[in-house]
């Protein structure tokens, strides 16, 4: 395994003094090309779009969680002078459009016909001349509901007397969604039977929401004469969406153009196809005018793709010396009213199978029961790399519980069990092939940056004085970059990504990619990938994404897959162009191809560097007059489709220091040290930005975020005053560091990093809080660790949040 070690520093990265305004021709720090427009408010989002004659759509949503629809009276709404149409589920049913497929082969109501199944479910829509009238008219629709008892508690959803939610599914007599298992049950049970120590803990990862700044919406524009539908939409996966629309609506795929303009944050929230998009399309088809639908904040929080919602029983078996032998878990998964999980089809629990973490085990087994409840559908969303957040949370929490029981330092315990560098590629007990890793090196760096021993000494002193200080350690391994098409598809669409590179005659370039930036800085990173390969400065490379008519097919941006998949495609398509450029150069320099040497940006004759042509010269030649070498076509461009051979496995070591006010139980995150290894680092500034954002996400989930429901199934997180997301005041100065362990199979050795910090951070914070509460005999406490919930733990009664 190759190990590149550029810039590994045992001191924290000094980001305040880092010079980000550099102009590398390739990898390195540079300011983001997209930022001038974003920071000047010149981004163009869906809601900025104004088309001539455009109408506005608003959705009437169910006020209750579970009820039969007795009647809907739309007369008053129809009579509103500015209303163009009022559509109910019955109207859609008449067209066969009342139901649509979800991304996981379930169905979901576009508009409810028979029953409403969660609070906030779509019941009817209004199309009006302006958005105000559309909203006003909603209040004129009269719906009579016959209230049914709701299923709110996931643990009792399968009770024999539980009301059946999915009466739409033929023969359905319970709320069972699916069962899933991974690993070897018998082998795991055998290891547990002979282990010295077994620790069991119930661990809840509550339902949370991605809460992007921009809510979801679209403008649908159907032109009757040409039969062309253009959909501007908040989509992280424009191509996948187009194909699904074609399959569902019967409109031919070539007549559908899906455009995702600038996106104000996605985090997985913009992967699913929501009923609102379908409603807008239907409205435009029916009325023949462009129709805009833009949900408001409450609609976004109450009805769109949530994340997590796993109730996990974690069990770990070890020797008394602290060698971990096996992990076993049973999970109850709350999938809401419809299974809207966005994950590769063969992975109904996403990549939860990596719950074995970063440790070398003898056996592992997971069984899962997924159920329907009267809550919003969705799942997976929120920067979790397909449920790896849940998996890593489980393993890192249960390992800390083991440390507690063995009275062993959590670092020492982890060190004893980490997979060793020479074991890579490492096949985990659940069948995942970890590509590369040097775990202890990252852990050591984090410990050194933190001053771990001094922190422990400080903690000991503080404990003497009754002060509550906690140190949390977490190690994570992710599996990102879905994925090899032999294993992974979404609704039958393989997860390979196309890429197209064209060099213009003057040596400027355009790269077209299928993935879709939501703030990750793809316009910069991808230009840098191409620049590194072909020697054209990033400023001269335009990156186009988000338009199905302008880009090759691919499955979009989520699960940290852009750099692992589309990034690899961009590198390889550049190499393909460079190969052609080399042939043209050989003609220009009148030497054989083998006699040429590539120096970033030009080909020179071996042994005679004065004879060279630049890539720009070659581009002009490729398009210009004069002969090209035999068999070479004009132009300088190429296209490829990259099918990843494996996922990439970024990892990291995180350490968190918290102080808890003993009087109020309020938690203050004092320090956070994050060492990330995402292989080759393309633009360190962008990586740091992704890491900072993810760490902040972690503070949110650990300390305050949760979508709660009351007994009636009312969602209690319907505004940002109720669903709290962290601010700058809750987060410390981030201390980041890195190591570089390239991926052996990725063309440039890069691994995904967009979600690493979201996946790695909460457990470090929770571990720190629980560590602080050690004097109270606390081994585990569930998120969100609000002051009240921490106080409960201090009283000796930590309570699950659901």
């Amino acid at each position: 395994m190759t190990t590149l070690d550029e810039g590994v520093a045992a001191t924290p990265e000094d980001l305040e003094h880092a010079d980000n305004d550099q102009h590398p021709v390739g990898h390195g720090r540079m300011l983001r090309k997209e930022d001038p427009r974003f920071i000047r408010g010149m981004g163009k989002y869906v809601d900025d779009l104004q088309l001539k004659g455009m109408l506005h759509l608003a959705i009437l949503r169910s006020p209750v969680a579970h009820a039969t629809i007795v009647s809907i009276d739309t007369t008053a709404a129809q009579a509103h002078p500015k209303v163009k149409a009022v559509i109910t589920g019955a109207d859609l049913a008449a067209q066969g459009l009342a139901w649509m497929p979800t991304l996981s082969n379930d169905v979901q109501a576009v508009l409810a016909t028979d029953k409403v199944r969660f609070q906030g479910q779509e019941v009817a829509f209004v199309v009006a001349e302006d958005r105000y009238s559309a909203r006003d008219a909603l209040e004129l629709i009269d719906v009579e509901y016959d209230i049914l008892p709701p299923v709110v508690d996931v643990r009792t959803a399968l009770a024999p007397d539980a009301p059946v939610i999915r009466t739409d599914l033929e023969g359905k007599t319970d709320n069972h969604c699916f069962d899933w298992e991974t690993g070897d049950k018998a082998a795991t049970d055998a290891v547990f039977a002979r282990a010295d120590v077994v620790v069991t803990e119930d661990i809840v990862y509550p339902r949370v929401h991605p809460a992007p700044m921009e809510t979801c919406g679209c403008v649908a524009d159907y032109e009757r004469v040409s039969g062309q539908l253009t959909l501007w939409t908040t989509s992280q996966a424009p191509h996948a969406h187009r194909t699904v629309y074609a399959l569902v609506s019967g409109l031919p795929e070539h007549k559908i153009r899906v455009i995702a303009p600038d996106i104000g944050g996605g985090f997985g929230n913009k992967v699913p196809i929501y009923p609102g998009y379908v409603c807008a399309i239907v409205a435009s088809l029916v009325i023949g005018k462009p129709v805009k639908w833009m949900e408001d904040r409450s609609e976004n929080l109450v009805s769109t793709g949530f994340a997590r919602d796993y109730v996990m029983r974690g069990e770990i078996a070890a020797t008394k010396e602290g060698k971990i032998l096996a992990i076993r878990t049973h999970v109850i998964a709350d999938h809401g009213a419809f299974n809207g999980t966005a994950a590769p089809v063969k992975y109904p629990a996403g990549f939860f199978g990596v719950f074995t973490g970063s440790y070398d085990l003898e056996a592992a087994y997971c069984s899962m029961t997924a159920v329907y409840t009267n809550k919003a559908p969705g799942g997976v969303a929120y920067a979790c790399s397909f449920r790896i957040t849940e998996a890593v949370y489980l393993v890192e929490r249960i390992v800390d519980c083991l440390a507690y029981d063995l009275d062993m330092d959590p670092v020492e315990l982890r060190r004893k069990n980490l997979i060793q560098p020479e074991q890579f590629p490492y096949t985990s007990k659940t069948g995942w092939v970890y590509d590369s890793g040097e775990y202890e090196r990252a852990l050591d760096l984090a410990l050194e940056m933190a001053g771990y021993d001094e922190l422990r000494a400080e903690q000991a002193e503080k404990r003497e004085r009754g002060e509550l200080m906690g140190i949390g350690v977490a190690f994570f391994t992710e599996a990102v970059g879905a994925g090899p098409r032999k294993d992974m598809d979404i609704l039958g669409l393989g997860m390979a990504d196309g890429s197209e590179l064209r060099i213009h005659p003057t040596g400027k370039a355009v790269l077209r990619v299928s993935c879709m930036s939501q703030g990750q800085g793809h316009e910069t990173t991808f230009a840098q990938i191409v620049a590194e390969e072909i020697g054209i400065p990033p400023a001269d490379i335009q990156v186009i994404n988000g338009d199905t008519d302008q880009t090759p097919f691919g499955l979009g941006t989520y699960g940290s897959r852009s750099t692992p998949v589309s990034g690899a495609a961009a590198a390889l398509v550049s190499r393909k162009v460079r190969d052609k450029a080399q042939i043209i150069a050989s003609g220009m320099l009148e030497v054989s191809v083998a006699d040429l040497e590539w120096q970033k940006g030009s080909f020179a004759v071996k042994g005679d560097p004065s004879r060279s042509v630049t890539i720009q010269d070659i581009a002009m030649r490729a398009h210009g007059a004069g002969d090209l070498p035999d068999g070479v076509e004009g132009g300088l461009e190429a296209q490829i489709c990259y099918n990843p051979e494996n996922l990439t496995y970024p990892f990291g070591a995180y350490i968190c220091v918290v102080d808890i006010d003993p009087g109020t139980a309020a938690v203050k995150v004092r320090r956070f040290i994050a060492v990330d290894d995402c292989g080759t680092r393309i633009n360190p500034m962008i990586i740091e930005g992704q890491v900072h954002g993810g760490l902040t996400d972690g503070v949110g989930m650990a300390l305050m975020e949760m979508i709660a429901f009351d007994d009636e199934g009312n969602c209690l997180g319907g505004s940002l005053m109720d669903y709290l997301i962290p601010t700058a005041l809750e987060v410390p100065h981030w201390e980041t560091g890195h190591t570089v362990t390239p991926s052996p199979h990725h063309p440039i050795g890069a691994k995904g990093v967009g979600e690493s910090a979201t996946v790695g951070s909460q457990r470090a914070i929770v571990n720190a809080v629980v560590d602080a509460l050690k004097p109270f005999g606390i081994r585990h406490a569930d998120m969100p660790l609000t002051p009240s919930r921490v106080w409960d733990a201090m009283q000796g009664r930590p309570t699950p949040p659901i």
Binding site: R135, S298, L703, S719, T727, W791
Partner: protein, 299 residues
Amino acid sequence: MQVPAPFEYERATSVDNAIDLLERLGDEARLIAGGHSLLPMMKLRLANLEYVIDINDLHNELGYVRVGTDEVRIGAMTRHRELLESPELAALFPIFADAEQVIADPIVRNRGTIGGSLCQADPSEDLTAVCTTLDASCVIRGRGGERVVTMAEFHRGPYETAVEHGEILTEIRIPVRPHGSSAYAKVERRAGDWAVTSAGAAVWMDGDVITGARVGLAAVGPNTTGIPAISEALQAQAPSEELYARAGAIAAESCSPVTDNRGTADYKRHLADELTRRTLRLSVERIQAGVAGDQGRNG
């Protein structure tokens, strides 16, 4: 985007004009000050009004902090930010700056007013607790003239005050007594969040002995009486940890919190105790250090 239902808009030019408009437009008219409570309710369509009467032009008339010989008068249109930055209040009543630092965020504080805060009468609202702690009274004006009510009379319950239709709150009056200081503490789940529980305390001393003490709580049920039992327990006592503990216990007993997303009733009760002790302790420390209290008036 959340949009309110249609409504008409009027802009008052004076207090009398605002009263005229209220009378003329009837029950479906509401005053709007900073709008940070009213507008969210309108956008969520929890408040549906026909008329909004904007009183922001009355900031000249009603935006002030005036220090008199034995009382401070604060105009109802004084904004959170002005309270936070007022040197007069900092000198006399440090409780204001303590509280204002943890009320909402700068955007809200730039517009939200003390009048709007008291009139909104949200059970978690902080300035009601501050005014209760300081034994403030409120000046309400209507066509028939002005009346002055105590905080206990003003605050009738959640979202309910003594301000009748056709009336406007114009001023808050706070008595100034020598040798006193005050403090405020709040526990929130996140900066800008409403209180899980907050407590304010004001203490007056003569030498080493407490001559007066008041505590006001927010977010733990109706409580605008300044908890007389605490005042009695502290009267003529020398400050001590035991004394604060006794006051804290009374605070915990005399509140009636409910369990919600912000915390359990038990926890809130615990906070009423803990924060009462903290704010009493800090008030006394402030008096002893001579950092704040009555210097503004005498010195």
